[in-house]
């Protein structure tokens, strides 16, 4: 229903302080920008779910006036749906209210419909219906450490969720609190921060309390993860039991971004910032740095990026796609968005002068992206979809035994 599948194309979803923009491209060279959607609401989180040959864009929306909510689109932004009772809602008895959705993470292809969310106040949620309704993870919410977790500068965030292939081993990272690991699918959690510095605390090596900015899993090596810390870049090869510095070779060990390759072992990207107290690129020169040997060495990637830049790149304002070669995307707090179709070797500017970029997600999608950039096509697609629904409803009326043809349009 909705769009006819035509061919592969590429979409970048750009969440900003004042709304969402979508960029689409047939070739990752020429990009068409549409938006804003949700004007004047911040979009701190985006998940693009391409499992099962469909594309669902989920966004965490937060209005300063009207609060947070989750919306999704199955037609690349032509229409948006918000569950009436809210997708994420703290249950009775918690005495808590949702402040912000920091992370929306579609799980593996082998677990269709499963979507995780990380939120403020610090909490992890799981949906089994494609992101329409989430349940609070009680193991983490009831953790005895929770009252000691703090808020980073941007708020108290459960911002990283990494699930292994079995679905049993789950790592989350929070600011502040550090890395927590579950070995039972999220039922119970233990801190795993040995080796990660919390230099800003009286004890610089606490069991928990670190300000880990982002974690990501290696594509191929089980139990290997990478972390960008509040000063410090680390790798673990044993599922978080021990973290070792891989910051040598970088111009600075501060930053927010940690990306990993979707398939290749040992490849990760960071976007260094000078220091906690000077959150600008080193030498005010905006560069991405990539390792292809799990942090042993780093290569500066600057082609196409500005020589003078004074804005930071936030933790979720960067993404990779799953194409070959892998695309790398990021946005700045100055409202510029850059795309690379060659793993960061060269970047082109996709957008500029947007509001602060909070979240960037990119994906290879099947279908015609015209609706996202062409109002007439969008209107036509809506009419087609409505007509199909009427036809389906009529068909169902004739055949009362017919199965529900589709609960999720698109």
């Amino acid at each position: 229903m909705g769009f006819m599948a035509t061919s592969e194309s590429y979409v970048i979803a750009i969440g900003t302080k004042k709304g969402l923009w979508l960029a689409t491209s047939p070739d990752r060279k020429d990009w068409s920008l549409s938006g804003p959607h949700f004007l004047m609401s911040e979009i701190p989180s985006i998940g693009i779910d391409t499992r099962g040959g469909k594309t669902r864009i989920m966004v965490g929306v937060r209005s300063e006036h009207w609060g947070p909510t989750v919306a999704h689109s199955d037609d690349l932004g032509v229409t948006w749906t918000e569950p009436e009772l809210g997708a994420i809602k703290f249950p009775d008895g918690t005495d808590a209210a949702l402040e912000r959705i920091w992370q929306i993470y579609p799980d593996a292809e082998s677990r269709p419909g499963v979507v995780w969310a990380g939120c403020e106040p610090i909490s992890v949620w799981k949906s089994t219906d494609g992101g329409e309704h989430f349940e609070l993870n009680r193991g983490l919410w009831d953790h005895p450490h929770r009252s000691d977790w703090g808020a980073g500068y941007g708020g108290a965030a459960a911002h990283s969720i990494v699930v292994d292939s079995s679905g049993e081993k789950v790592h989350v990272a929070m600011s502040t609190g550090g890395v927590y690991r579950s070995l039972d699918g999220g039922a119970s959690w233990e801190p795993r921060n040995k080796g990660i510095s919390a230099y800003f605390m009286p004890d610089p090596n606490p069991e928990f309390g670190q300000c880990v900015h982002k974690i990501a899993a290696d594509a191929a090596v089980e139990n290997r993860l990478y972390a960008q810390n509040h000063h410090g870049v680390y790798r673990t090869d044993d599922g978080g039991e021990n973290w070792d510095s891989i910051a040598d070779g970088l111009p600075a060990d501060f930053g927010f971004v940690m990306l990993t390759h979707p398939r290749r072992e040992g490849t990760a990207w960071v976007v260094p910032l000078k220091a906690d107290g000077e959150r600008i690129p080193p030498d005010s020169k905006l560069s991405v740095h990539r390792t292809d040997d799990a942090g042993g060495t780093w290569k500066e990637l600057h082609t196409g990026l500005p020589d003078h830049e004074y804005n930071a790149v936030l933790r979720d304002a960067a993404s990779v796609d799953t194409a070959e070669p892998t695309g790398v995307y990021f946005g700045t707090r100055g409202g510029a968005v850059y795309a690379s179709a060659d793993e960061g070797e060269t970047f082109t500017e996709v957008a500029s002068h947007l509001p602060d970029v909070l979240c960037v997600r990119a994906a290879v999608v099947v279908g015609n992206p015209a609706g996202a950039e062409n109002p007439l096509a969008a209107a036509e697609a809506t009419l087609v979809a409505e007509a199909e629904e009427i036809v389906e409803a009529a068909a169902q009326k004739r055949d009362p035994d017919a199965e529900d043809p589709a609960t999720v349009p698109g």
């Binding site: 004047m40 006036h65 009207w66 005495d95």
Partner: protein, 95 residues
């Protein structure tokens, strides 16, 4: 039975089919909280825009009863008498 009217700002009116106000009936006076429960009963998205899941009024949502902001009165426990105007206004905020 007394009739109560709650006036909505333009930005919220699309959530209630374009209506600029909602009405409810009750025997005698009601509290602002009870009135919100009543008028948002059929509009759960509107309800979530005004109050969080603990029932608290969102920080930048202001409700006036006869010109007085309810936070200066008894909050959501403020009583509304028949004929009094209840007005929802968002704060001037942001940048």
């Amino acid at each position: 039975m007394a009739d109560f009217t709650v006036l909505l700002p333009g930005v919220l009116q699309p959530l209630v089919g374009g209506q600029s106000y909602l009405t409810a009936s009750a025997d005698g006076a009601v509290t602002v909280g009870q009135l919100l429960d009543s008028v948002t009963g059929d509009y759960p998205v509107l309800a979530r825009r005004l109050r969080d899941e603990t029932g608290a009024l969102r920080r930048f949502v202001n409700i006036y009863v006869n010109g007085d902001e309810v936070r200066r009165l008894k909050g959501l426990e403020t009583e509304v008498a028949a004929g009094q105007e209840v007005l929802i206004v968002q704060s001037v905020a942001g940048g």
